[in-house]
């Protein structure tokens, strides 16, 4: 009986999902043809082995970030919940990879439908092969661009899970994440990065138009995930019982190390070529991260009398987040300021704002990714300079760009919050978001996955 009803609910969700997808498919049918033609018309272009090597390698690096995140998060929870974090991260890799190749990529990057979404003409990777799709990346196979982007689609929903760690049902998690990727990530990616997306720098034909600067995903990835995390923290409510210290800080440090390493692929790989721009992104990323790690350590030292390890790695991640949209548009020296600002602002968010508003953002997914992402997106509009990435920002005499950034930030925040909120409520209705209090006390590892992370007696 019980089981039946769960199956029933899952079925209902799937059904809903299917209908949405079909609507999408139908609605966009016409444009799909046009898009495909446009794609075919793009001039053939030579693949560069060097660029391809770099973007393939970057894709592998970005994949590694998700296990890195798993350890960063997993080390911070209680022993009894460590596997639930690792499992959720791996499940995201599996689910979203499939979603992406089946239809997600097409929704996000496929031929544009009125600036809002891609159509389904690239579903199941139709036409996504060894030939470059010049308007996205002229010197690497289209398929390489697709798989590089897949890794972004994977890690973004994984970021959210920090907000509801230690208390979400695994089945609800799977349902939510799949819906979120489809209805939040894919559209927002399309708006900002898709040809013709309404916030994008290119129209559907690939011509430059004024648009938001987001080199590697400050808006699409971090604000998007961070705001969804806030929504989740609010909808889910607080954990039961007192908070607990991290069960293994070394794991969190390991995760931070892998994240830093992988982020070079994330940011410098977003140049989609191994050239001076990639180098700039690489260096700006490294510098901002170093400055942010140092800055958080100083904040801790001033505020708590000692520099903490968790503070330093949190700062580093905040720096990575903030430099993400900027790294291909600002100089390494500007990156210093962006990194410093990231840590100061996120430190304030985590230390004071969270304490005041009392939401239980377990692992500060909002406090670091949301807040850091907003800062980064705006900072891009402040420090961008033409000589680096072709655009000037506020400090180089172009306040207009700052306003565009602001608009993109606000639009993304509102959309992400509202839709995430609705999706969470929906999943709560159908499946139920939270485990029982008893399950929460026993731990998610045993109750959701029938496993224990470690042995006690041996």
């Amino acid at each position: 009986m019980m089981k039946k009803s769960i199956v029933g609910r899952a079925g209902l969700l799937c059904g809903l999902f299917g209908i949405m997808m079909m609507l999408a498919g139908n609605g966009y049918g016409q444009e799909a043809v046009a898009g495909a033609v446009a794609a075919a018309a793009a001039p053939a272009s030579a693949v560069s082995a060097g660029d391809t090597a770099w973007v393939l390698m970057s894709s592998a690096l970005v994949l590694l970030m998700t296990p890195g995140l798993a350890f960063f998060y997993g080390g911070l929870v209680r022993k009894k919940n460590v596997l639930s974090i690792l499992m959720q991260c791996f499940m995201v890799i599996c689910l979203i990879t499939l979603q992406w190749v089946l239809f997600g990529y097409s929704l996000a990057f496929g031929p544009d439908v009125k600036g809002w979404i891609g159509n389904l003409s690239w579903a199941c990777l139709k036409g996504v092969g060894a030939e470059p799709f010049t308007n996205y990346a002229a010197t690497i196979p289209h398929s390489v661009f697709m798989i590089f982007q897949a890794m972004f689609a994977v890690i973004t929903p994984a970021l959210i899970l920090g907000a509801f760690a230690e208390r979400m049902k695994f089945s609800a998690f799977c349902a939510f994440i799949l819906l979120w990727a489809t209805l939040v990530y894919d559209p927002v990616a399309h708006w900002v990065w898709g040809l013709g997306g309404f916030l994008s720098r290119f129209d559907a034909a690939g011509n430059a138009v004024p648009g938001a600067l987001d080199f590697a995903g400050g808006t699409v990835v971090h604000i998007n995930a961070g705001i969804a995390a806030l929504a989740a923290a609010l909808v889910m409510g607080k954990r039961v019982g007192p908070t607990s210290p991290p069960h293994s800080l070394p794991f969190a440090v390991l995760g931070a190390g892998l994240l830093w390493f992988g982020w070079f692929g994330f940011n410098a790989g977003s140049a989609l070529a191994a050239n001076g721009l990639a180098a700039n992104a690489f260096i700006a990323t490294h510098v901002a991260t170093a400055m942010a790690g140092l800055t958080w350590a100083i904040c801790d030292w001033l505020w708590h009398k000692k520099a903490t390890t968790l503070g330093m790695i949190t700062g580093a991640v905040a720096g990575l987040v903030a430099i993400t949209p900027a790294c291909g548009f600002v100089s390494p020296m500007s990156a210093i300021w962006i990194g410093a600002g990231a840590s100061i602002i996120c430190f304030i968010a985590v230390t004071f704002i969270k304490a005041v508003f009392k939401y239980d953002d377990t692992l500060d997914a909002f406090g670091v990714h949301g807040v850091g992402g907003i800062w980064g997106a705006l900072a891009t509009g402040i420090w961008a300079e033409k000589s680096v990435g072709g655009f000037d920002g506020l400090l180089h005499g172009n306040p207009g760009q700052f306003l565009i950034q602001l608009k993109a930030v606000l639009v993304t925040m509102v959309y992400s919050f509202v839709v995430s909120f609705v999706l969470l409520k929906l999943v709560d209705k159908i499946i139920g978001l939270r485990v029982t209090e008893h399950e929460e006390r026993v731990g998610l590892d045993l109750t959701q996955h029938k496993e224990a992370g470690y042995t006690t007696i041996d």
Partner: protein, 113 residues
């Protein structure tokens, strides 16, 4: 002088410690144990291999008190640890012969607190 041993659920530790504090029983020694009791564990599964795993995680408290503190101690533990569900645990009271504070060399009742 009594040597009190209590086995409780791990997640009740904080509330027990709080209540003991309130009754001015500050001194406690805590350790991890695994217990087999009436409570049935959740069978773990590792690559389809089922581990019956009759041992569940518990926390053990050791508290040494003078006679007059036995009752409040037992009460504090009971209040803090009771959920009414199987697995709440037990309290054992043993007789203590002697007690010595290493720092000062004091012995007997004064050394307890």
């Amino acid at each position: 002088m009594k040597y009190i041993v209590a086995i409780i659920q791990p997640d009740r530790l904080d509330s027990v410690l709080d209540l003991l504090e309130k009754k001015e029983i500050h001194l406690v020694t805590v350790s991890n144990v695994m217990g087999r009791g009436r409570q049935k564990g959740i069978a773990a599964v590792y690559r389809s291999h089922k581990e019956v795993g009759s041992l569940l995680k518990k926390v053990k408290l050791e508290i040494v008190v003078n006679e007059e503190f036995v009752k409040p101690t037992v009460e504090a533990i009971t209040e803090g640890a009771r959920t009414g569900e199987i697995g709440d645990g037990k309290i054992f009271v043993l007789e203590l012969k002697e007690c010595l504070r290493i720092r000062t060399g004091e012995t007997g009742s004064v050394a307890i607190g």
